[in-house]
Structures are given as structure tokens and as C-alpha cells.
């Protein structure tokens, strides 16, 4: 006879307010096989765990059920408790009576009955638990960092400094990301390039870091400790080794296209580096706009290159690399303003997004840092900044706060007023959110020292009127409708997830939230890990973030990756599939559904009536199996079972719930 213990957790008031703990404990004590049932306010605490341990010894328990929160939260905690008391950790079951019960119900009677049913199911499953043993899998001591913005650079440097090799993959021709586009950074106003470019240089020269710019991750297979990634190095058409970055090629190139880096405010050539401090300082030929590739004419860059580095025949290179850990730091996009016609964006050159304004302020930007109206190159006298364009806007934009706009708008006000002390800045805002070290003081400087007029309310319309822009809005504090004649209007455009974030999430097997930002494993306790083991998140790909936060998260993700990479071996989860060869008919339907290619066929020999017969069966590679269970449901004779979740156990749970 099994000796099962049941431990019911109050979770403070989280469970106890909705579920009658005493009634549940009493009912659990009477369940088949249960020899002990107890409860405690916080089962996961040190005291709670020692209560479990002493009960195991005192009551000679050979397995137990904890009725508490989701197994995502504390299953591993209680498995460790079991191991500490000498039990196999896989003889522990969790009945989730918090997320699945107390949090979602109001009626105490019904919630109590449901909690009892959930525990009954867990007890029925526990009675059929078998001891399982984890096996050791080796770790590939290399890391992949996807995205070469400040987040990716920081994560790569931290991991490399710990002594592990890192491949940093960046889609565009240079690392640097959005931070390279910025002029100054809040709240200290230090120059973005001055603090970023040394880091870019460091990443490029670090002996443990390999840069793959103008490259993309196409495929990721494998699992924690043993990922296998396919990286496409797009044809640069310029030899990275030979090029000296002298710049003759892009001076001579006759094709001009809008510069992505300058937010289309300036032109670049078809052979180009995105910005002067680019790393690597080697140009790329944009084949879609190059005369050689579109019309087979020109070729002047090849003729003039003193190093003979231009190579029109270069082809994409596809690399297969192995990694133990992956850091995702792919950053963000800004919202498309097509649905915001009232601001005349795109209709008038003096209406700009904040990122465009940033380029105009930047001394290496399209105007060389001269802040002039794009329409007529005259100095602006009145500039209106409109915050929350698309942020906190359920109807047309995003419901969330983009987090950085209050601060960068204050920065823009200060930089504008530094250049034109006599001019006036107006800022329309919903709320000012400056929660960060020295942030509020910075915002107050914009108001008090620089005299920016902050107007609580929204601007409803911007339209060209003569050579000015008329901004109509409301100041909700005075109740006045306002009309401001502006020379420039700057829109604090919402931050959104990269448009192809869902595709990358699918490729990596990680999840996204409703706005396509990557999901962390736990919003509070595991903020830098993805749900998939071995994949870590850094920066705005996980949600809007400023630079200090991105850098901290990147270092956090790097630390987590280092912990993983510094292990010689990992313990594999023993909850994997196994094939009962005597039942297997060799139909191999399981091979087709396995997403991890973990099932292969093999031939076995059997003696039937004294005759040796050969037949085909399925075989599971336990190192590749992730325990998803797809094969078990595809198996018609029921020959495949997931250890720890066998068909028998699942059916026993169903029976117990339906009781």
C-alpha cells in the first residue's frame, strides 16, 4: 500500500480566503492511500518545507501531494524538499488550487469543492508515480546573442568577459542599434555616441566575441545546453578582410536612396555604411538599389576600390553553429502613424517623430546638428511636443505606456532650448511618468530652468496654416481650448515590438504577449528568462525600456547564461517519452508529429513460436525529447508513454475528477 501525504497551503490569504482549508485538509485525509494530511500558511517557506520533511520521516511517507500554487511556481522547490528527505523528487505532485481555483472563483463553497477534486486527481496520479532519474547531458560552452543594439552588446561583453565564446548576430550592416541614432541620453545628457562607440569597439575587438553583422538567424534546433543555429550571412558584396573603410566607393557611387539610419531624412548611397562610427567600418552593397545589380551597369565602386575589396559575386553564406545558451536582444520599432492623420505627419515636413527629431539634433545627423525647420531651413521659435502618440491609446494605438517618452521629451525640450534660449517649447501630456533615478529632477529642470510649458491635455489636430503649423488642443487644467502657432511639431511615437517578433518567437520556441513582446518566464522572479530553458531576454524586445534598464537586463541575462555555460553537464528532465516495444506496431505515426526529431525507427528481433522474426519499432532519443507528449496521443496502440505523465496516470486523474 502506498503511503501518501497531502500538504495544503494557505498562500497567506490567496487561497485561504476562497478555499476552506480545514475542510480540504479533512477531505484529503480520507482519500485512498493518504495516510497524512496537514496544512500551513506558507508551505514554500523554510518552516513549511521542514514540516513536509518531518512528516515524511514521521509518517513514513513514500510520496506526497502539495496543494498550492501553479507547478510553474514551486514544483522544483518541493522536488528539492523531497530529495532532501530522501525521496525520489519525481514522487511529488502539485495540485494547483491557486491559479486554477482560488484566484478565479468567488464562491467559497464551490471553490472548496473544486480544490478537493483537484487534490483527489493529484493523489490518484501520485499513487501511480514511479521513481525517475535524471540523466546528464553535456553543455556546449558557447553563447549566441541575437541583436546588436546596446542590450545585445552588453550581454555579449559580459558573457565573453566570463571566458565564454559569443557569436553576436546583427541583421543590419552595423552593430549599435537605436542607441547609435540618439544624440544625448537622459538624465545626464551625456552624448550617446561617446558612451556607446567604445562598447561597440570593445565588442568588435574582444577575442571571445565573433560579430556576424548583416546576418540573420534562420533556424534554431536543439535544447538547453545544446542548441544548433543556422545563421545566414547575407552577401555584403565587400570583403570584410580586405576593406580598409577608406570611403572612396561610397563617395563615387551614383545611386542615392533614403537612409534608414537617418529615418529617411537624408540620402545614402547604394554602397554604404549606415553611419560614420559603424562597426565594422566596412560598407555593404544594397543590391536592390545598386546599378550593377539592377541594370548591370556602373561598377564604379569595384573600379575605384584601392584594396580590391568589392566583390559582386559574393554569395550568402550559411553557417551551422552550436550553442549552450541564447540571449535575445532584438529591440523595438516605433509605431506606424498611418492611423493618426490628425497630426499631419507625412503631409508636412515640420511634423516629425521623436526619433527623426533626435537625428536632427544629432551632430552627425542629416543637418550636422543644426536644428532648423526642415521645410525652410529657418530656426524654429515655437516647438510643440505631443506625448503619448499611440501610447495609452486603446482605440488606435497601444494600451500600454511606452515608458521612455516623458523622459526623452524633457530631454528634447532641454536640447532645443539650449540651442534657442529665446524660443518656446510646449509639451502636451496625459501624465508625467518619471520613475527612475534622477528622472523627476531632470523633468523639473525642463520646466523650471528651461521654461517649457507643460499642458495637461491632448492635442487633437495639427495642420499647416501658411508657413506655420496650427496645433489645436486642450489644457484640461484650465479648461481652455488652445491654438498654438508652431514652427515644428514633435510626436512622441509609441514603441512597439519588432514587426517580425512573432516569427522569431516561433523560430526559438518562446512565447510573446498580446503586443508581440517576448514573454519572460515570470514577471517578477524570472524577468530575464524565456519560458524555454536556455533562452534569455534583454532589452526592449521584452517590453518598452530605457537604456539603463536595458543594460541591467542584459547583464542579468548574461549572468543567467554564464551560470548555464559554466556547468559541465546539465541534468536532463527524465519526463520523456518511452516506447513499449511489445505494443508498438511500427506504424511510426509518432515520427511525423515529433517537433524535436527525437524519434527514429529501429529493427528488433523477436522469437515467436521458436522462430526469430524481425520487425520495425519506434525509438526515442532521450537527449532530444522535450516531453511535449505529442507522440503519446498519436500512438494508436498506446505504446508510447510520457514518463511522469503516463496514460494510466492521466486517466486516473480524469477518473478522480469525475468521481
Amino acid at each position: 500500500m502506498k503511503r501518501i501525504g497531502v500538504f495544503v497551503c494557505w498562500c497567506g490569504t490567496n487561497i485561504a480566503n476562497t478555499v476552506n482549508i480545514e475542510a480540504v485538509t479533512e477531505a484529503a485525509g480520507k482519500m485512498p492511500g493518504v495516510v497524512y494530511a496537514g496544512n500551513y500558511k506558507y508551505m514554500c517557506s523554510e518552516i513549511g518545507q521542514s514540516k513536509i520533511k518531518s512528516a515524511i520521516i514521521r509518517e513514513k511517507l513514500d510520496r506526497f501531494v502539495v496543494a498550492s500554487c501553479s507547478p510553474r511556481m514551486h514544483e522544483s522547490t518541493f522536488r528539492k524538499t523531497a530529495a532532501a528527505a530522501g525521496l525520489n523528487p519525481y514522487l511529488v505532485e502539485i495540485a494547483n488550487i491557486r491559479e486554477h481555483c482560488s484566484w478565479v472563483h468567488k464562491n467559497k463553497g464551490e471553490a472548496t469543492a473544486k480544490a478537493i477534486a483537484l487534490i483527489r486527481a493529484a493523489v490518484a496520479k501520485a499513487a501511480r508515480d514511479k521513481e525517475l532519474w535524471a540523466t546528464q547531458i553535456p553543455v556546449e560552452h558557447r553563447a549566441l546573442v541575437i541583436g546588436g543594439g546596446i542590450g545585445g552588446i552588453q550581454a555579449a561583453l559580459d558573457i565573453a568577459d566570463a571566458g565564454f565564446e559569443v557569436d553576436l548576430v546583427e541583421r543590419t550592416p552595423s552593430i549599435g542599434g537605436h542607441m547609435a541614432q540618439l544624440d544625448k541620453t537622459f538624465p545626464t545628457l551625456d552624448c550617446s555616441a561617446c558612451i556607446l562607440t567604445p562598447k561597440m569597439g570593445e565588442a568588435a575587438s574582444h577575442p571571445k566575441i565573433t560579430l556576424y553583422t548583416y546576418s540573420e538567424v534562420e533556424k534554431v534546433d536543439g535544447y538547453v545546453g545544446n542548441f544548433e543555429a543556422t545563421i545566414r550571412k547575407k552577401a555584403r558584396s565587400v570583403d570584410l578582410e580586405k576593406c580598409t573603410g577608406c570611403g572612396i566607393c561610397w563617395e563615387k557611387c551614383p545611386s542615392r536612396v533614403k537612409s534608414e539610419f537617418d529615418e529617411a531624412l537624408s540620402m545614402r548611397k547604394a554602397i554604404y555604411i549606415p553611419f560614420p562610427q559603424a562597426v565594422p567600418n566596412v560598407p555593404v552593397i544594397d543590391r536592390a538599389s545598386c546599378r550593377w545589380f539592377t541594370r548591370e551597369k556602373c561598377g564604379i565602386c569595384r573600379k575605384t576600390c584601392p584594396a580590391g575589396a568589392v566583390n559582386f559575386d559574393q554569395e550568402d553564406e550559411v553557417l551551422q553553429k552550436k550553442y549552450g545558451a541564447i540571449v535575445v536582444a532584438t529591440g523595438f520599432d516605433v509605431l506606424d502613424l498611418d492611423d493618426f492623420g490628425e497630426y499631419s505627419y507625412g503631409k508636412h515636413p515640420d511634423v516629425l517623430t521623436s526619433l527623426e527629431f533626435e537625428r536632427i539634433l544629432n551632430s552627425s545627423g542629416p543637418t550636422g546638428g543644426r536644428l532648423l525647420r526642415p521645410s525652410n531651413q529657418s530656426p524654429p521659435k515655437n516647438v510643440v511636443f505631443i506625448q503619448c502618440v499611440g501610447s495609452r491609446d486603446k482605440s488606435r494605438g497601444k494600451p500600454y505606456c511606452s515608458k521612455i517618452c516623458c523622459m526623452y521629451s524633457a530631454k528634447h525640450v532641454i536640447l532645443f532650448k539650449e540651442k534657442y534660449p529665446e524660443a518656446q517649447a510646449y509639451v502636451f501630456y496625459i501624465d508625467i511618468r518619471t520613475a527612475g533615478k534622477d528622472f523627476e529632477e531632470f523633468h523639473r529642470r525642463a520646466v523650471e530652468e528651461y521654461g517649457a510649458l507643460y499642458l495637461k491635455g491632448s492635442a487633437g489636430k495639427v495642420f499647416p496654416d501658411g508657413d506655420k503649423l496650427l496645433v489645436k488642443g486642450v489644457d484640461s487644467l484650465s479648461g481652455h481650448a488652445l491654438e498654438i502657432e508652431a514652427d515644428m511639431v514633435v510626436l512622441a511615437t509609441a514603441i512597439k515590438a519588432k514587426s517580425d517578433a512573432p516569427q522569431l518567437a516561433r523560430l526559438l520556441g518562446i512565447s510573446t504577449d498580446t503586443h508581440a513582446f517576448f514573454m519572460e518566464a515570470h514577471p517578477k522572479l524570472r524577468p530575464v528568462e524565456a519560458h524555454t530553458a536556455g533562452i534569455f531576454l534583454a532589452g526592449a524586445c521584452q517590453g518598452p525600456k530605457d537604456i539603463p534598464e536595458t543594460v541591467s537586463q542584459a547583464s542579468g541575462a548574461a549572468a543567467k547564461a554564464i551560470v548555464l555555460l559554466s556547468k559541465e553537464n546539465l541534468l536532463s528532465d527524465p519526463c520523456v517519452s518511452e516506447v513499449n516495444e511489445s505494443l508498438c506496431t511500427g506504424c511510426l505515426a509518432c515520427i511525423k508529429v515529433c517537433p524535436y526529431s527525437a524519434i527514429t525507427e529501429k529493427t528488433i528481433e523477436e522469437k515467436i513460436h521458436g522462430k526469430a522474426l524481425q520487425r520495425r519499432v519506434a525509438e526515442v532519443n532521450v537527449a532530444l525529447c522535450q516531453g511535449c507528449g505529442s507522440c503519446t496521443v498519436s500512438c494508436r496502440p498506446g505504446a508510447v508513454n510520457l514518463k511522469g505523465f503516463t496514460n494510466e496516470q492521466i486517466m486516473a486523474e480524469v477518473d478522480a475528477i469525475c468521481l
Binding site: 493618426f340 492623420g341 490628425e342 495642420f463 499647416p464 496654416d465 501658411g466 496650427l470
Partner: protein, 274 residues
């Protein structure tokens, strides 16, 4: 082309000019507009009181009657269009109001928002087509610089009205181009005219109208064209009360220009005299 037609009170009284010119042009374009037999006032303002069902009923009667004929329901007045379209949307989406209205009216058949309500401008754009209209123009308004004024009722709320892009509409400009005129782009074309405030506080409306008129003038307009009796009244009458104290810009219904371009103005009026 045959359509049910809901005229509304204003078109039978102060805005008779709008109806007459629209109907004449429709005949010339081969469009049959069959006036509904028993129509009632739409209420002139869309009822926002959620619990009040009575203000919807007259609209629902007309909508249901149009459904029985299987024809689209055409309106010329912007206010009627606004009220009918929004009432129809409520019937389509709010089950509670729909049930109550049906219970109250006891129609032979339940009405659930099946009728399509279209404005005369949409009729020209989607049923006739502006290129076809352009071909039928006999006296193109070449060289005339005209500013279109949209007002609010046709465009807002955008999710329900779905008439045109609410912030940057183009249907009236496209219409003007079809007639051969030059459309003047100016910032106030989608602003509010002041609506019923002209009854209560003429000064405020005069100020609003002055902004619209002056903006159109400064962008080179020689006339302003609208599609709404109330906008028309405010732009025409309140213009006289602006600081300038006199009318500076002629105001037309869009159908007047249509009538002129189709060369129906005088001759047809003579023939039509009953």
C-alpha cells in the same frame, strides 16, 4: 438603379434647394429615388440616452421599410444620414435595444439592421462612379476653385460611419474633380461648424465660421461647398455676423454644383414646373 429614399424634414422646408437639385441630378443620371411612403422625422440628433428606446423608433421604421423593398436606403441630408446609420448600427450590434425596438414596433418581420444606409455622395462615388459622372458632365466647372467643407456628421464617429477617412477625407474633393473644378485644400475642412450653438450663442458660432471662411479664402477658394443643411445655414447666415460683417464667400450645396455641371439649371426647372 433604384433606391429607397428618405428625405427628412429639413429637405422639405429650409433645405428644399438641396432636395430639388439632388433629385433633378438623380433623374438626369438615371437613378430612381423612390421616396418612402411613410417616413417620420429621424429625430435630428442621434439619441445617446442608453435607456431611452423611443427616439430610435422612427429610424427603425424607415430602415425596416427599406429592407422590405430590398433596396439600399439613400439620404441626402447629412444629419438624417448620421442618425439613420448610427441607429442601424445599434440595431445590428446591441441585442438589448434591438429586442426592445422590435417588441415595441411589432413589425411583421423582425428587423436586425439588415438595410444598408448610403449618402447621396456615396451613391455618386460607389454606384454611379466618379469617372462615369465625369463623362456625363456637360458644363465642366473648369477653373473654379472650390473648398469642400465636411463638417462632423458625415465622418464621425469613424468606426460607425465608415464614410471616408475621418481625418483626411477625400470624397468631396474627388467629387469636385469629377465636375471639373479645382478642389482647395485647407486645414478647417473637417472642423465643426458650430452646430445648434447658433441658436443659443451666435457669437461663438460666428467666430468658428469666420475661421473656416478665412482659412478657405486664404487658400484661394472662390466658393465653399457643403453637404449638410446645418453647416449650410451656419456658413451662410453666420458669415454675415462675422467681424467683417458681410459675406465674403458664396456657399453652395454640393448638389447645386452637380446640377450646374450637368447643365440642368434653368431648362429643367422650366420643364419641371407642374
Amino acid at each position: 438603379m433604384r433606391f429607397s429614399y428618405y428625405p427628412g424634414c429639413t429637405l422639405k422646408t429650409t433645405a428644399a434647394l438641396l432636395e430639388n437639385s439632388a433629385l433633378k441630378a438623380a433623374r438626369a443620371l438615371g437613378i430612381e429615388l423612390i421616396e418612402q411612403e411613410k417616413w417620420q422625422c429621424c429625430g435630428a440628433v442621434f439619441p445617446l440616452a442608453a435607456l431611452e428606446i423611443a427616439p430610435f423608433l422612427s429610424s427603425v421604421r424607415s430602415l425596416a421599410a427599406a429592407k422590405d423593398t430590398g433596396e439600399k436606403l439613400v439620404t441626402i441630408c447629412a444629419a438624417c444620414y448620421h442618425v439613420l446609420k448610427r441607429a442601424n448600427h445599434v440595431m445590428k450590434t446591441d441585442r438589448d435595444v434591438c429586442t426592445k425596438a422590435n417588441n415595441y414596433l411589432q413589425l411583421p418581420e423582425q428587423y436586425r439592421g439588415g438595410t444598408e444606409v448610403i449618402h447621396y455622395l456615396e451613391l455618386l462615388r460607389d454606384e454611379v462612379g466618379f469617372p462615369t459622372l465625369a463623362r456625363k458632365v456637360k458644363k465642366p466647372l473648369t477653373g473654379r476653385k472650390i473648398a469642400a467643407f465636411y463638417g462632423c456628421l458625415l465622418l464621425r464617429p469613424p468606426a460607425v460611419m465608415q464614410f471616408d477617412n475621418a481625418e483626411n477625407p477625400s470624397i468631396m474633393e474627388d467629387f469636385l474633380h469629377a465636375l471639373g473644378a479645382a478642389a482647395v485644400d485647407y486645414p478647417y475642412r473637417t472642423e465643426c461648424c458650430g452646430v445648434y450653438l447658433s441658436v443659443q450663442n451666435e457669437e461663438i458660432v460666428a467666430e468658428m465660421v469666420a475661421k473656416i471662411i478665412n482659412s478657405a479664402l486664404s487658400h484661394g477658394a472662390e466658393a465653399i461647398v457643403d453637404a449638410c443643411p446645418l453647416c449650410h445655414y451656419n456658413l451662410l447666415e453666420l458669415q454675415k455676423k462675422t467681424p467683417q460683417g458681410k459675406s465674403t464667400l458664396p456657399v453652395y450645396y454640393f448638389t447645386e454644383l452637380l446640377e450646374e455641371a450637368l447643365d440642368l439649371k434653368d431648362k429643367v426647372e422650366e420643364k419641371m414646373a407642374f
